[in-house]
Symmetry: C2
Subunit: 232 residues, 2 copies
DNA sequence: ACCTATTTGTACGTATGTATT
DNA sequence: CAATACATACGTACAAATAGG
């Protein structure tokens, strides 16, 4: 196993130590100085390796305290929460949502083209939580002229599905695009994860029974806190 | 506005430049020395900012060449019949699969349970490339006793859909689970991305016309090189 | 509640290696 | 082959957060 650089070799050595149980979950690693001495490298070379393991999610660090083996991610078993996963498929609709912003503004060109030429949009942004832990952040847009009461409905209760029910509209998923991205600093703060953590991003367009698009939403999910499940 | 450190401020400034179109997709950024001078910081402080943008997927770097704005992702339609190569090529790009491993071995408990009690499995692992760039790595398992010719077919041509055609089997997606994870060092090497990069992971079970599971596959997609697209 | 030693984080400096142009 | 530009590696200094007395 020829490692091209010192720091990658050190990174893999530490990762192997953790995998073999030399350090347990949550345990503090030796301090930088000791690790650097053990591997016979400069402190910054060692830090390069540690930084990479933090980016991978293997470690976490606390300034002044030390480096710690990251806690085991709580993974949702496949098929164990069918209602939850089904809701997620439909563009991030949770029973528990916290509204972070509700406003009406002029539509951008992109929003207008996706929402059948809407001139103004209702913007509904918020956080999805499970047991108080943020698992998603969403930003949805609706035609403000066609649905003038939406902003009021959202402020009463942060539920999109309830709002559609109130309005007597039935919606279905029209298209959903999915990819993965690393959390930037803003999204990391919203989701309470370190920057760089893998996120599942969905861009969804929902339509009414006539096929008219009624919602355009973007959602970011913490990758290791849930799984999207598609059945056919 | 959290600008706690120099390097985060520089990172956000460069990210804002890119978002506002100062640099286009694929375009080369000014070299480190010039950027460092512009921001009035040491080269390493600038590199810290650039490194973070590379980790986020905003930039890519090539030693000796420069830093470049990352390309836009390719879309991949998830239809009923999974056909990676044909689907991608319909979007005007050259897609291919490279076989990295073909073997027959005893099934694990998980594989047996998912493949209807199979005792032995054909393991087919490889890399999916678009325009020569790796975008996915896959590991698929099949019932080796029910399909004894699969290994030979894969070694002739690394195409799952072609193999099913040869065998006269029609398959459809039974279930697909999707989540996001950060690349560990092994997967990073396979996909030619830096460790920590966000990956889209799918776990799929495909079935034949009788609903019998015939393939159990895991795939890892480079998040910023591919978008999964669901239509209904 | 306060101080202090410890430990990680940031920033700059210098040199050399390596791939690209 | 030479010049350019990114990558690695060692070094010094100080700032900021933590932990312990």
């Amino acid at each position: 196993m020829p490692k091209l650089t010192l720091w990658t070799a050190i990174r893999d050595a530490i990762a192997a130590d953790i995998a073999q149980g030399a350090y347990h979950s949550g345990e503090k690693l030796p301090r930088e100085a000791d690790l650097a001495q053990r591997f016979g490298v400069n402190r910054h070379t060692l830090r390069r390796a540690l930084h990479d393991l933090v980016a991978q999610g293997t470690l976490t660090s606390r300034r002044g305290a030390g480096f710690f083996v990251a806690a085991q991610p709580t993974r949702y078993e496949i098929g164990q929460a069918p209602q939850f996963t089904r809701d997620i498929q439909q563009s991030g609709r949770f029973a528990e949502k916290r509204a972070d912003r509700i406003e009406v503004r002029q539509a951008t060109a992109l929003e207008a083209s996706l929402l059948n030429g809407a001139q103004n949009v209702v913007v509904f942004e918020g956080t999805g939580l499970i047991d108080g832990v943020p698992v998603s952040w969403f930003s949805s847009k609706f035609d403000a002229d066609r649905f003038p009461d939406l902003a009021q409905l959202f402020s009463e209760k942060p539920s999109v599905s309830r709002a559609w029910k109130e309005l007597g509209i039935t919606v279905h998923r029209s298209r959903t695009d999915i990819n993965a991205c690393n959390a930037d600093s803003l999204m990391a703060q919203r989701l309470a994860v370190p920057a760089g953590r893998a996120l599942l991003k969905t861009i969804a367009v929902d339509a009414d029974e006539n096929g008219q698009p009624v919602e355009y939403g973007e959602s970011w999910f913490v990758g290791d806190r849930l799984t999207l499940s598609l059945s056919s």
